[in-house]
Subunit: 83 residues, 2 copies
Amino acid sequence: MFQSNITVTLRKSILDPQGKAVEHAIHSLGYTLVEDVRIGKHIQLSINSPSKEEAERITDDVCKKLLANMVMEDYTFTVEKVR
Amino acid sequence: MFQSNITVTLRKSILDPQGKAVEHAIHSLGYTLVEDVRIGKHIQLSINSPSKEEAERITDDVCKKLLANMVMEDYTFTVEKVR
């Protein structure tokens, strides 16, 4: 069993209004040293594949086809063996 | 300048209907080896603090007070120096 941890983030050039809203909320709590906030998605997959390579291939396919919008988002992931 | 990468996830005992929906979508793409999907949030903060300790303290405070609902969510974060 392998576990993939995927992070999907908006590309740098894309405005992130949700991040801006959270930034304002953080500032109103008094944490003015926080200068920029970007919000993304975190997805964890449990994959019952025979090898790590297969788990990585499945994760990459699923990101491209379903989890990330390649026009405006980037993704990174790590795969590790569990159990 | 420091960068915090925060992951907020639902606690194990909390049902994740969004994850279940994505799991069904992944299965209908033919990837039946994927057995469980959990969805969380990823938040990236840029913090203009003098020290890493200060950046970690700010990140932890902001998670507890704003970003994570401590009743049903867990959070982890890493802080690294940038620039």
